[in-house]
């Protein structure tokens, strides 16, 4: 009884999205049935044409799925019998390209949202959003005078000032060049750590997903290929995600020690400790690191006579073929984390690797994602 109640409560709190949409003029069909966490950043990830933007538009009510069901924190936005129009949904939406109203100033765009949010805006929230996006100095500018990055920051601030219960972001960085992307990414990270609003973030960029997402939904051909925590999804060996990208894993951890002499930081990822270059992060700071499968090698014994700093005891979980017939991907387990190594089959044979075998992993390089 208690368990059932808890479950029902959880179901009510979560975010349920079920859509079936068939475009009349193309063969594309969206077919999803998802339950998503209602906190943190959920990335909807996939190549172009996989239906991620369509899914987001269905959630916003900008596109009407023939069959749809969407419940957000117990509030039904769409069901078999009801369809709440977009302007009655408590959402914020950031579009891919600049979407500021050209006839208003930056401030005018923000006021447009504030006036219509229906919730009184606490002064501290306004200041917080302006500071978070760093747009104080450009508020009086005409929106057409702003650079691409500035426009997008104002657009994000505008979406936040509506005080949504759900923030939808459709590739907010895709229309920007690399320099602008790196200008905005830190703002998004701050946003994520400061505000409680759950975010659905559509992207086809591995970098953005690894830096921002807690949860990943991988879309393929209008369907959900897989979903899970960012660590789980990226450590899947046979995910189509890995076909086009360098196989790697993501670990999240806290900085627990600084070595000032050698300019290194020690990060603890659920018990597993790694050393990496000191990037100026403070003690106690939560960071994410990425370990490429090509940077992991295996030895049967612990070597002290090596230049490798990070050596971890691991257990082999699984061995699968890589796209390259000479190579194998070895899925390994540390105490709490998953690691993937990319080795030649000759090495697999030489080390006599099988599932369950324990040995040492040497990690040549650990990249800070954030």
């Amino acid at each position: 009884m208690t368990i059932k109640n808890t479950r029902m409560k959880n179901a009510k709190q979560g975010l349920q999205a079920k859509f079936h949409l068939q475009h009349s003029k193309s063969r594309f069909a969206l077919n999803v049935d998802l339950t998503l966490p209602d906190s943190g950043v959920t990335a909807i990830f996939g190549e172009s044409g996989s239906g991620k933007t369509t899914l987001l538009r269905c959630i916003a009510g900008l596109e009407k799925a023939q069959q749809g069901h969407f419940v957000m924190k117990g509030e039904t936005w769409q069901s078999d019998t009801s369809f709440l129009p977009t302007h009655k949904r408590s959402l914020g939406y950031v579009f891919q390209e600049s979407s500021l109203f050209p006839h208003l100033t930056a401030k005018g765009n923000l006021d447009y949202a504030i006036k219509r949010s229906g919730i009184p805006l606490p002064a501290h929230l306004y200041d917080q959003v302006i500071n978070l996006m760093g747009i104080e100095s450009i508020l009086a500018n005409n929106s057409q005078q702003l650079s691409g990055g500035e426009k997008q920051r104002v657009a994000i601030a505008r979406a936040l000032l509506i005080q949504p219960t759900l923030l939808l972001m459709d590739e907010p960085l895709a229309s920007l060049d690399n320099a602008r992307k790196h200008e905005i990414l830190p703002y998004l990270e701050k946003l994520k750590s400061t505000l409680k609003t759950p975010i659905l973030y559509v992207s086809h960029s591995v970098e953005e997903v690894m830096r921002l997402a807690d949860h990943v939904v991988l879309m393929h051909n209008g369907q959900v290929a897989t979903q899970g925590s960012v660590a789980d999804v990226f450590s899947q060996l046979k995910s189509p995600l890995l076909m086009n990208h360098d196989t790697s894993v993501i670990w999240q951890g806290k900085i627990v020690e600084q070595d000032d002499k050698w300019h290194l930081s020690k990060v603890s990822c659920s018990g597993t400790e790694l050393w990496l270059r000191n990037n100026g992060d403070a003690l106690g700071q939560t960071i994410r690191v990425r370990i490429l499968a090509t940077d992991v090698s295996l030895t049967l014994t612990h070597h002290d006579d090596s230049s490798i700093v990070n050596k971890l005891p691991v257990t082999v979980l699984d061995i699968v073929p890589d796209q390259d017939p000479a190579m194998a991907l070895i899925k390994l387990k540390t105490e709490q984390n998953t690691l993937i190594a990319r080795l030649t089959y000759r090495s697999v044979d030489h080390l006599a690797l099988t599932a369950g075998k324990t040995l040492w992993a040497q990690i040549k390089s650990v990249a800070l994602v954030r």
């Binding site: 916003a60 900008l62 129009p85 302007h87 939406y93 109203f101 949202a113 509506i162």
Partner: protein, 227 residues
């Protein structure tokens, strides 16, 4: 300088053109909105009907309107049932005819402007909690403003410049339907070339100034608004 009947004709022309422009903006906007955004198969036929006055001789339009507004026509029967009598050869008859005649000059600039805005600003406004009327007044109207101004100017001037339809439907009643173009015609018929000259010159200067302001306004503006 100008005779009282000339002044009366100018004042009447102004009243007709203003009334027609206001009515055209009110009924042309929803038509333009629908044409700009519909995917219906009726879009083609409706566009063609709206554009007909561009190519038809005014006499053809005037002839059918005369029949429709006459005692046995469907508009005529409606107006009689409403106790308004029949419309031909009255001020309001002239208004109805002019509305049809100038419709494309108002619908097309507004339609172009709305098409140029596209869906996106409306979607953005919807995600910012703006309902459909709110979206129209706070997004469509300001962004399509140059289109509306062009439409109003073209509707006004085109109505000022009409002649054939007036003759067919309005006749030549002082203070009711004798507009400037008809007055000039009367002067010429009566060989009063001096009087005709004055009115004709006023028409040329007026039209030139209006078009000049329209073109300098359009050069400063794109369809999206002030640059």
């Amino acid at each position: 300088m100008l005779s009282p009947s000339d002044l009366e004709a100018i004042w009447l022309t102004f009243r007709v053109a203003t009334t027609v422009t206001v009515i055209l903006l009110l009924i042309g906007t929803p038509i333009a909105w629908w044409l700009a955004r519909t995917r219906s198969r009726l879009k083609g036929p409706i566009s063609a009907i709206v554009a007909l006055p561009l190519v038809l001789p005014p006499t053809v339009l005037g002839f059918y309107l005369l029949i429709a507004m006459g005692p046995n026509g469907f508009i005529g029967q409606l107006t009689q049932e409403l106790g308004l009598g029949t419309l031909p050869f009255t001020f309001w008859g002239l208004i109805v005819a002019s509305v049809f005649y100038s419709l494309p000059f108002v619908v097309q600039p507004i339609q172009n402007a709305i098409e140029a805005i596209g869906e996106r600003p409306l979607e953005v406004a919807a995600t910012l909690r703006a309902g459909s009327w709110d979206r129209f007044f706070t997004v469509v109207l300001p962004l399509a403003k140059p289109g509306f101004i062009t439409a109003a100017i073209l509707g006004f001037t085109h109505t000022v410049g009409e002649f054939g339809v007036v003759l067919m439907i309005g006749g030549n009643i002082p203070g009711q339907t004798r507009v400037v173009s008809v007055q000039i015609y009367d002067h010429v018929e009566a060989l009063e070339y001096d009087q005709a000259h004055k009115l004709a010159a006023i028409m040329i200067i007026f039209s030139f100034l209006v078009l000049l302001s329209l073109y300098s306004f359009q050069r400063k503006n794109t369809l999206w608004g002030a640059k």
